[in-house]
């Protein structure tokens, strides 16, 4: 009898022992409020990937747990939440969707025990630095460059309006634009609501033939409404931010003809098409760029976790950098030695509610 009890206990212990350690990943992003579209989409994309991995048995048996935190768009909270997660011994941090959050977390990038992965933080200042920050989005500066090249064909004078809320991102974009655009550039920060600034905007625009906006989708829409309402014809160039969460679809005629740098893929690229169809089948809506980038970032993290010697920061960093080329949704995924991705931006134009790729 004693033997039987001993065997049962031993078996129980063995079974308990079979439960492998859970990999905890902190997700910090804006999930509520005015600028939550990217955060929500990003979270959904990452969640999709993590759920797929967990459903397939996890990373070599280790399940992934996401600790999702809403920073409510408050930069101070971003830092606080990040610190709290680090204090909870969480080594992998995901999110930080906009360049505005760079300053809040930059101080942690040097820590060798941590890994930061942002799908969409494009601040070019973080390029070419050997740190623990990784991303799958091209830099904001590259976006500006792409738009500048395109604008050279159609415009001579551009009024640049950027959101002061995300000045970090905007700076990279307009600097890239200004450095590339051969015509005149006037740069204005938007610090109030668009409707309050309507007259100022029209004033600033006098003598210009084109408008470059680096603002959130709603402000981009409202700005286009200002020009539409006042019957001022213009070429509008927007960073990808302006088309986040598919907001351009609600703009109607006012926003028709707007040119974006697209972080979305080419419909002819099979993985992209497949992902879009699968996503639509499941959620009855199209995936936003943030969803796609978050999913791609998920591919990098989970593959690296599979191949890393341990889940420590340094082993994981090594695994991320040594990872073979992975099939992404928009293109193949391969990070360079600084943890940045090399991929081209596309130019799309909104024509009758649809985004048409431009050569």
């Amino acid at each position: 009898m004693k033997k039987l009890i001993f065997i049962i206990l031993l078996l129980s212990l063995t079974l308990i022992g079979c439960e492998k350690e859970v990999i905890r990943i902190g997700v910090v992003t804006t999930l509520s409020g005015n600028n939550s579209d990217i955060g929500v989409s990003m979270r959904d994309g990452f969640l999709l990937k993590v759920n797929e991995i967990n459903d397939a048995g996890g990373i070599n048996g280790h399940k992934i747990e996401l600790i999702i935190k809403d920073d409510e768009g408050d930069i101070n909270k971003v830092k606080q939440i990040t610190q709290d997660l680090i204090d909870q011994d969480i080594k992998i941090l995901f999110g930080y969707e906009t360049s505005s959050k760079k300053n809040a977390i930059e101080e942690f990038f040097g820590r060798e025990d941590l890994i930061f992965m942002s799908p969409t933080l494009s601040a070019y200042e973080l390029s070419n630095i050997d740190d623990n920050f990784f991303r799958v989005i091209p830099t904001n500066y590259q976006q500006g460059e792409t738009l500048g090249h395109y604008a050279n064909k159609y415009s001579k004078k551009t009024l640049v309006l950027y959101s002061q809320v995300n000045a970090n991102f905007a700076k990279g974009v307009y600097e890239g634009y200004a450095d590339t655009f051969e015509g005149e550039v006037v740069i204005k920060a938007v610090e109030k609501g668009i409707l309050e600034l309507e007259e100022d905007i029209l004033l600033w625009y006098e003598g210009m033939d084109s408008l470059m906006v680096v603002m959130n989708p709603n402000d981009t829409l409202l700005t286009s409404q200002v020009f539409y309402r006042n019957n001022v014809e213009t070429n509008i160039y927007s960073s990808n931010w302006g088309m986040a969460a598919n907001a351009h679809q609600t703009g109607g005629q006012s926003i028709d003809g707007t040119v974006y740098t697209s972080l979305l893929g080419d419909d002819s690229y099979a993985p992209y098409k497949r992902f879009q169809e699968t996503y639509f089948d499941r959620f009855n809506e199209n995936p936003s760029f943030a969803t796609i980038y978050a999913y791609e970032a998920g591919i990098i993290i989970t593959e690296a976790l599979k191949q890393a010697d341990s889940f420590d920061g340094q082993d994981l960093k090594k695994a991320i950098l040594e990872l073979d080329v992975q099939e992404g949704i928009i293109s193949d995924l391969k990070l360079n030695e600084f943890g940045d991705i090399q991929r081209e931006n596309l130019i799309v134009k909104l024509i009758e509610g649809k985004l048409i790729y431009q050569e």
């Binding site: 859970v22 999930l31 509520s32 409020g33 005015n34 939550s36 929500v40 979270r43 959904d44 969640l47 759920n51 967990n54 399940k63 992934i64 747990e65 996401l66 999702i68 809403d70 409707l195 709603n218 409404q225 539409y228 309402r229 679809q249 609600t250 703009g251 109607g252 005629q253 006012s254 089948d281 499941r282 959620f283 009855n284 809506e285 009758e352 509610g353």
Partner: protein, 635 residues
Amino acid sequence: MKFKLNLKKMMLIVNTTMVVVPLLIIAFILVNYARSFLVGLSTDYNKQVINNIKVNIEQFFYEPERDMDFIKDIIIDGDNTDFIEEFLESQILIQNIQVLDEEGIVSATYNMETDYIGFDYSNQDIYNQVKNSGQVAWSKVYIPLGANTINMDYVLSVEDQVIIATINLERLNEIFVETTSRSNLIVGVTDSSGTYIMNTDFENVRMRTKDPHYSGGSMEFDRVTIFLDEYYATSDYIDKLGWYIATYQPVEQLNQRLNYFVVFSSVVIILMALITMFIGLKLNSTIFSNLIAIVKKTKAVREGNYRFIIEESRFFEFNEISHNFDLMVKEVQSRQSEVLSQKSKIEDMNKNLEARIEERTADLNTSNAKLEKTLQHLKETQNQLIESEKLASLGNLVAGLAHEINTPLGLCLTIITYLQDRTIENNKKFQINQLKKSDLTTYFNSAIESEQLVSDNLHRAIDLISNFKLITNEQRNVEKKTILLDDFLLNIIKGLNQELEKSNITLAMTCEEDISIETIPLSLYQVVMNLLMNAKMHAYDDQAGMINIDASKKDDQAIIIIEDYGSGIDEENLKHIFEPFFTTKRGQGGTGLGLHIVYNTIKQNLNGNITCDSKINHGTKFTITLPLNLENAMS
């Protein structure tokens, strides 16, 4: 060796087993079915919760639809702004109204900033859907800019215009919270993209979380895992809105209920077991105290103590046993005293019996002595008889011899008498000279013939006497002597031939030559004679027959077989033929001692053996075995 069982231990084991095993089976069934029962119960309850939410949602949307149907024409007229504003102020659900012209551009707004005039809805699916179908539609749920509320648009077309009424779902959420607050469940309502628009945890709504199990417009699942936690899920679909309602009940919660149930059941079962076992043990103990009392009584009776107190038991059966035992003991007691009395009688009888036995033994001893005397007398008589028989046989021999000798001597006398007569007659004639030559010739011839006859007969007589002498000499001399067996037997045959010839009995003998045997010839003679005479008398009853004598040597023994082919001896008589005085011819001259003498002579004098084989009507065969050297054999 049989395994000895202890009834008390056995009863204890059986009692415990009968209590514990059924309870274990009940516990097993309870635990196994409790889960599915609880899951079923929870699922039913969860479905009820979903149904309540569904009813509430449908009721919720009825009100704006009804109100908008009432006011739509007034809105299209566009002249009654104040009335519409008042209407909206009285509304809890409808927040604001937009009117779109035939191109989908916002042409008028109520209860919202006029900045929205000019917004273009022409590319939006819902606008086109309502515009083209002329029917009403509900938009997807959305969170308006800068607000933490959830809105939906109720879109309806009136003539060529479209009215969009924005509905705040906050009230719906309040109703939802009221409905679900007591359910202890995670309940969520998602829009057609799977994004929560209502949830018991409002954070999921605020952060626009998608239901992790929403897939392709379907939520069909029973048990799901969200990150690391498992849930039992139930879901339903609101067709009109494209919404889903899902409930998630943590498996852990159910497990806690199950654990509570199991613990409660276990306590009840253990208590039941303890009570039942207590009652069982108590009962056992009572039964055993009664049993032990009975055992003590039996022990007391076994030890001869019949005085014990009869205790009254609570059990009828034990009282019955006690009562019966008491009767039994009394019966035993009575029988014992009877036995004791009988025993003393028996002892007395035994004493008498011993005296009688002694008396009888004395009688028997006396009888024995008498018998011994009689036996002695009988033996003596037997010996006398044997001696008589021996003498008789000797007499016979002498008579035979006399008869044999008498015959030649008589003849001689007759011849001599005749010759005397002839001599006297011739002498007279000679004297008177009348003797003629022929007379003399005749006389001489007669004389010669007579002399010859006399000579022959005298020779015969001499032979006879020689033989007799031989026998008598040896009879006198009982000491052993070495003889040639064939000569010896031949002499006996010669002596008997005439006797046997009278009865036409042929005697044949075959004997190996030169069998030299050291024996007592007289004894052997008596034996052979007896057997031959026996054959003549009994086998052939003095009628014609044949007797064979066969003598041979084997190893250091001589074997003499005397066999006749006469009437034979039956099996029963054969057993007794060597016994003294056994005869079938009693009263006809038989003494019954002949074969007894033969047997004794061979056994005692000749140290040999004799056996007899016989079959009725086939004859009898006596086989005599004698040692070749009597002296060696006796030593």
